[in-house]
């Protein structure tokens, strides 16, 4: 292959991506300047590839090739499909905020009901004033591209002491085939409050779409927060999400991610424990089949002493699926008495499936307890036989054992209703196998 030509070709397509979209990207002139700068960063770096350490196992150049043009505004038929998808995927009792192809859809959302309890704006509105939300501590090519192209998102602010009665569910719906959606949201959680945020990614008729999402979360002291992500995208979609989470003191933060779709997906989370006495529980399940590639990359930064972090991740891999787990735990020099553990296990349902696991402990304090463990293996034949001898057909016996396997991560979700919802999605994935 002639590399020089390929690069030029991609470079041109990339520029078109921005110039053709620029007129539709919201923001004041100051925001436009920030976008341009972010896009230049992206152009300079190009799509991440395997020689970039953080992207070693998820070579987007090889897996994705090019970024598709920005999705056009959805037409009436697309909005109808989106409305149906909202009905199908809404969690009982949740306040819904719906983004269709990366643009907030007021008609499909419960913004009014939510506004009673929670401050709410769209990203679009925020960007009329300032570009602050386009800036993040960590920048890689994908995050820079998101800053350049983000069309919309939700900006939530939960007041000090608020005890939210119902989950807030952000539903991302893809209706446009062969197009990209760029969204960026912010969730600010006040002191001593209690909130549950769910993010759901689904397709409504769209195929081969790409999602680049970013979320900035900050949690003030003494709060109790559950944040659950459900990436149930179309099988040929691409979903790359970056999450930045800053956690104050004495906080309980319970994070869960489940990936049950997308040809290529990556969740990169940058979680900073910035206040003492907090507990982070970060868990997830990847259910992958065919040639799907699912990457969970988590950087947990213990910046202060006396925090606990626990990570439990499970991957179930069928056919030629490929799962990546990169977990880095950083313990800063001051962060004594840190207790950080991560455990990942992969279940290989086929000889051709592949699991890559890269734990990294970067410990700069001396009085800490940190550890990690990883396993990869097939289903236990003796357990399978026991179930079959009791009348369960092969696939059903496997399903029961797979449910038990992923259950070790799902059971970390405290809320009964949400846990059942997540189990339901996993069960549907298993039923599709049978």
């Amino acid at each position: 292959m002639n590399v020089a030509v390929a690069k030029t070709g991609k470079g041109r397509a990339v520029s078109d991506l921005f110039t053709s979209a620029e007129g539709r990207l919201p923001g004041s002139p100051g925001v436009t300047a920030v976008r341009r700068e972010a896009f230049e960063t992206y152009e300079r770096l190009g799509l991440p590839h395997r020689r970039i350490e953080e992207w070693k196992y998820t070579d987007l150049r090889a897996l994705v090739g090019e970024v598709l043009p920005l999705a056009a505004a959805p037409d009436a038929a697309a909005l109808k499909r989106a409305a149906d998808a909202v009905k199908a995927h809404a969690i009982d009792g949740a306040r819904k905020l719906v983004l269709v192809d990366g643009v907030f859809a007021a008609d499909l959302s419960d913004a009014k009901a939510l506004a009673v309890e929670v401050g709410f704006k769209t990203l679009r509105e925020t960007l009329e004033k300032d570009a602050g939300l386009l800036k993040t501590a960590t920048v890689d090519a994908v995050i820079a591209l998101n800053a350049a192209m983000a069309t919309d998102g939700v900006v939530l602010s939960i007041a000090d002491g608020a005890q939210l009665s119902a989950p807030i569910q952000i539903i991302h719906i893809a209706t446009a085939a062969s197009a990209s959606a760029f969204s960026r949201s912010q969730v600010t959680i006040g002191k001593g409050s209690r909130a549950t945020i769910v993010e759901t990614f689904v397709a409504a008729g769209a195929t081969a779409y790409q999602i680049n999402d970013a979320v900035l979360v900050s949690v003030a002291d003494d709060s109790d927060v559950a944040y659950i992500r459900l990436m149930d995208d179309a099988p040929d979609a691409v979903n790359v999400t970056s999450q930045f989470v800053t956690i104050g003191a004495n906080v309980k933060y319970n994070f869960f991610n489940m990936t049950t779709g997308a040809a290529v997906s990556r969740l990169q989370g940058f979680i900073t424990l910035a206040g003492e006495g907090s507990e982070l529980s970060a868990n997830g399940v990847n259910l992958l089949k065919k040639t799907e590639h699912g990457d969970t990359t988590l950087v947990v930064d213990h910046a202060v002493p006396n925090c606990v972090s626990r990570e439990v991740f499970r991957a179930v891999l069928d056919d030629r699926a490929h799962s990546v787990f990169q977990g880095r735990i950083i313990v800063r020099p001051d962060a004594q008495k840190t207790d950080g553990k991560m455990m990942t296990r992969a279940l290989l349902l086929s000889d051709e499936a592949e699991a890559d696991n890269k734990p990294e402990l970067e410990i700069f304090a001396d009085d800490v307890s940190c550890g990690h463990g990883a396993t990869a293996g097939a289903l236990d034949d003796s357990l399978l036989f026991y179930l079959k001898a009791r009348g369960l057909p092969e696939k059903q016996a496997q399903a029961l054992l797979i449910q038990a396997f992923v259950g070790e991560a799902i059971e970390q979700i405290a809320d009964d209703g949400l846990r059942e919802h997540v189990i339901g999605i996993a069960e549907r994935w298993l039923e599709r196998r049978q």
């Binding site: 001898a389 009791r390 038990a404």
Partner: protein, 250 residues
């Protein structure tokens, strides 16, 4: 009528022949005991009947209700009425016992073209059977066999037997690891399942179990064959004189 016919069965495990031409016929409603020294192939026979992978049948056949059992998958055999109470029941963490019982029962019923059990019917049945076997309800809330004592595991096997109502029950050393009271409870459970349509193969080392579950026929297995068959008095004879005489015969 013959329920199970094992004819001249030869079985290899990892290139080594374990069963060397074993023949056994169990008629409907009969209880057969199989006794024999360690390593004589009793568990191997039970595994091959249940369809456990890893065994190569090189010769002979197994008919169940006249059908070729070796052609069926383990779950098909279960649905047809073959039940093996394992010598060493496995622990399955994360699979709740109740969910497992219901899934298994309904899978069998579905395979037979019967309606699934409704939840209340199922619960009533489990409650009834577990009560008679002295199995506390909280045991059923745990993962399958997880943290069960040896005796509890065995009772859980009998519970399943009662629930699935198989026509052939193979009990592989049901008495091992049971205390005297537990043995009586389990044996009562098994006896309650005796019926003219149901046959049992009871594998044991001890005559004591056969005081509770009285067999119609006793077989002695040695070195991969049935070397002698007789009435229940054969078990007493073995208890007195051991297996030495049969080892020579084999």
């Amino acid at each position: 009528m013959a329920l199970l016919e094992v004819k001249d069965l030869k079985v290899r495990v990892e290139e080594r022949e374990i069963l060397h031409g074993l023949t056994l016929t169990v008629n409907e409603g009969e209880i057969h005991a199989i006794m024999g020294p360690n390593g004589s192939g009793k568990s191997t026979l039970s595994h091959v009947i249940a369809g456990k992978p890893g065994y190569e049948v090189t010769d002979g056949q197994i008919l169940f209700k006249g059908e070729d059992l070796l052609e069926m998958s383990p779950d098909e055999r279960a649905a047809k009425g073959v039940f093996l109470a394992f010598q060493y029941p496995v622990e399955i963490p994360g699979v709740a016992t109740m969910n497992f019982l219901r899934t298994a029962l309904n899978a069998q019923r579905k395979a037979r073209g019967e309606d699934e059990f409704s939840t209340p019917d199922f619960l009533r049945k489990v409650r009834e059977v577990s009560k008679s076997l002295n199995i506390p309800q909280d045991m059923l809330k745990r993962g399958v066999n997880v943290g069960f004592s040896g005796g509890e595991k065995k009772r859980n096997e009998v519970l399943q037997m009662a629930l699935f109502e198989p026509s052939l029950c193979i009990l592989d050393e049901m008495d091992s690891g049971l205390d005297i009271d537990a043995l009586r409870i389990a044996a009562d459970g098994v006896n309650a399942l005796r019926s003219p349509k149901r046959s049992m193969v009871v594998i044991t080392h001890y005559q004591r179990l056969l005081n509770y579950i009285v067999p119609d026929v006793v077989h002695v297995m040695s070195k991969g064959r049935v070397v002698k068959s007789g009435g229940k008095e054969l078990a007493l004879e073995l208890e007195a004189s051991g297996y030495a005489q049969f080892e020579d015969a084999a």
